[in-house]
């Protein structure tokens, strides 16, 4: 609710960075994300070897020649991880977009409209929320004849929209009776115009964080599917690397380099996405931001720990 003084226009003020970018968590997350997107684009070109190519260096630990070591067939793990980035990012993106579009359609419609249809949509999203998604995805993908990236992304997208829909519905319900929406309705705006131009802009942050959350889920699901051997073993992604590591007893042979890089890549990507999500959360709800300087001296010389959100109560024996 900061009231910006209008006099600022008189003296040229140095333009501040947009607040979202100024948040260190969001910046770190975005930078990491950018790195992974870059790798997804150029990964297959800069990979030093063909990921499926066999060589005579069997099960070598990391060295200058093979940065992440080699597999039981002498394949270069660094190239596999690099080439696999594209599939991971692609599936995450497609599934995220599909699920977000569905979530917006179902969530906003069921939140804004009333009646049996809206109740039905809400019940539908609750059903999808409660049914365990991963086993469902596993049984669907393992019965499909084709398990390429796009198919898997679509299956994940169509089964994981429910969380976003629920959050959006709750938010829409709280917006639909606000004064500005009532005013728009009173001036005779059509329902679709109200939804698109009055309500949707206020849902941007919720939609964005839902999208990021779905991408995390989609990435982990895709890797899991590859790890248990459901998806196409021909293409490379981080899960395929882990699948081969597990099935070739990498653990028993002490070949830690086989599964550590792929797992770290997953964890880093997941962390990057969660950081972006925290950035969005803190942008929307400033209370969640970490505290700054918290010890303050009062007039009579005592120190009080100030905490955002708390109203300090100063008594005789204030702690």
């Amino acid at each position: 609710m900061a009231v910006v003084p209008t006099t600022a226009a008189v003296t040229p003020v140095k333009r501040r960075k947009p607040r979202f970018v100024a948040n260190p968590k969001a910046t770190t997350g975005l930078a990491l994300m950018g790195f992974f997107v870059l790798m997804a684009v150029i990964g297959p070109w800069i990979a030093p070897y063909d990921p499926s190519e066999r060589s005579s260096d069997l099960l070598q630990p990391p060295s200058g020649k093979h940065w992440f070591g080699t597999t039981h067939l002498g394949q270069d793990i660094f190239s596999q991880v690099l080439v696999g980035t594209r599939s991971v990012m692609l599936v995450g993106l497609i599934a995220g977009v599909v699920a977000t579009v569905l979530a917006v359609l179902v969530g906003v419609t069921s939140g804004y409209l009333s009646g049996a249809g809206a109740e039905g949509l809400s019940a539908l999203s609750n059903v999808f929320l409660v049914i365990p998604a991963l086993p469902l995805i596993i049984i669907i993908t393992s019965t499909l004849p084709d398990t390429g990236n796009i198919t898997i992304a679509l299956v994940i997208g169509f089964t994981s929209w429910a969380w976003g829909a629920r959050v959006l519905r709750a938010q829409t319900l709280s917006l639909r009776r606000r004064d500005y929406v009532e005013a728009a309705r009173a001036t005779g705006e059509s329902t679709w115009r109200i939804i698109l131009f009055e309500i949707m802009p206020n849902l941007t942050a919720v939609i964005a964080s839902g999208f990021v959350g779905t991408v995390i889920f989609a990435v982990i699901s895709e890797i899991t599917l590859a790890f248990i051997g459901v998806s196409d073993a021909g293409g490379w992604n981080w899960g395929t690397v882990l699948f081969w590591a597990q099935s070739q007893q990498a653990l028993a042979q002490g070949a830690w380099w086989w599964f550590v890089p792929a797992g770290l890549a997953i964890a880093l990507l997941g962390t990057a996405l969660s950081l972006v999500n925290f950035g969005i959360d803190e942008f929307v709800s400033p209370r969640l931001r970490g505290g700054g300087k918290t010890r303050v001296k009062t007039a009579d010389g005592r120190t009080v720990r100030m905490r955002v959100g708390f109203t300090p109560v100063l008594g005789e024996e204030a702690k």
Binding site: V130, P132, T224, Q246, R287
Partner: protein, 326 residues
């Protein structure tokens, strides 16, 4: 009470939806999986078993979809889930019966304990915002982004091996006969420790974060300030006033994310070769054992629904507002 009745109706509806999905999914399979199995079993299958599989897969062309659907329900109600391909000729129901206790023991206990510890830690972290406790947040973010199964792999590499206290796979010492004697229970605990720790560490961090955020939000409510002003001890305000209210969304969040957690924990079983439903699902996927996959999906879904219902009851106990009549 009407709240509870509404929830029960919802769960029954969801169970129906899950069973219906389970009915339609196998109809997507191209070709004739049953024929493949009959060939594989070299005439060891009885005609009845073959017929039951045809009903499950909807390959009985003489019937309409509606008739097939009712026959499918009839079969389910009799507990007939078909024959497993991998564990041929055991019925799927028996195979699942073997795996279920292990999964309920491992996943059930760790999920609940993880929620309790995570919520307690989140309460403290949220209350002491701006102190050292904030350092926990980046750590938990990182840990919660790691897939469960990968953490399991790392735990196996680092902690197991020759002469280690922790076994790398299995659920009990294979030299022992399962039974209720101390030796067997001790062995079960020893084998379960590492998978349980893996699940605990990854599932806890999510609860820490959500509880922390709720605590931060609740801490600025007027009733917390009033409690401070009354001179109540810090601890009492934290637990009795702030945490009690912050807990509610976390409990409903727990109910909603159960399906997600259970999916992740099943993979830990695969990594540790723990003989529960997760490992069976893995074997079923490898062998294209559709009846077993379907059966496991059904059982997991029904268990998650039951757990959800229990979480609802807990919510009812915790929040007096939902108990208000009218």
């Amino acid at each position: 009470m009407s709240y509870l009745l509404k929830r029960i109706a919802f769960y029954l509806f969801t169970a129906w939806a899950a069973i219906t999905i389970n009915f339609f999914v196998p109809r997507l399979i191209p070709g004739d999986p049953v024929q493949a199995l009959i060939t594989k079993s070299r005439g060891q299958m009885t005609t009845e078993a073959v017929q039951s599989l045809y009903v499950l897969f909807g390959l009985d062309k003489d019937e309409s979809v509606i008739e097939q659907y009712f026959r499918y329900w009839g079969q389910l109600l009799r507990g007939d889930l078909g024959l497993s391909f991998t564990f041929f000729p055991s019925p799927v129901a028996d195979v699942i019966g073997d795996g279920l206790p292990w999964t309920v023991g491992l996943v059930g206990i760790t999920t609940v304990v993880g929620f309790l510890i995570g919520t307690a830690a989140g309460t403290v972290v949220g209350w002491r915002r701006g102190s050292w406790a904030d350092l926990l947040i980046p750590v938990t973010t990182f840990v919660s982004s790691i897939p469960y199964f990968w953490l399991g792999l790392i735990a196996i590499t680092l902690l197991t091996g020759r002469g280690s206290f922790f076994p790398a796979s299995g659920a009990y010492d294979t030299g022992l006969v399962p039974g209720w004697d101390w030796e067997f229970i001790g062995s079960t605990l020893r084998y379960g420790l590492l998978p349980a720790a893996t699940i605990l560490i990854s599932s806890m961090s999510g609860w820490i974060l959500s509880m922390r955020n709720m605590m931060v939000t609740v801490a600025s409510e007027d009733y917390v300030t009033v409690a401070h002003a009354k001179g109540l001890s810090e601890r009492r305000v934290m637990v009795g006033y702030a945490a009690r209210n912050a807990l509610l969304p976390n409990v409903s969040g727990f109910a909603l994310s159960l399906g997600f957690i259970v999916g992740g924990t099943l993979l830990v079983e695969i990594v540790f070769s723990y003989p529960g439903l997760g490992l069976q699902l893995f074997q079923a996927v490898g062998a294209k054992d559709y009846p077993l996959m379907q059966g496991i999906f059904l059982i997991i879904t029904l268990s998650v629904l039951l757990a959800n219902f229990l979480a609802d009851v807990a919510y009812l106990v915790l929040d007096p507002r939902t108990r208000r009549e009218g």
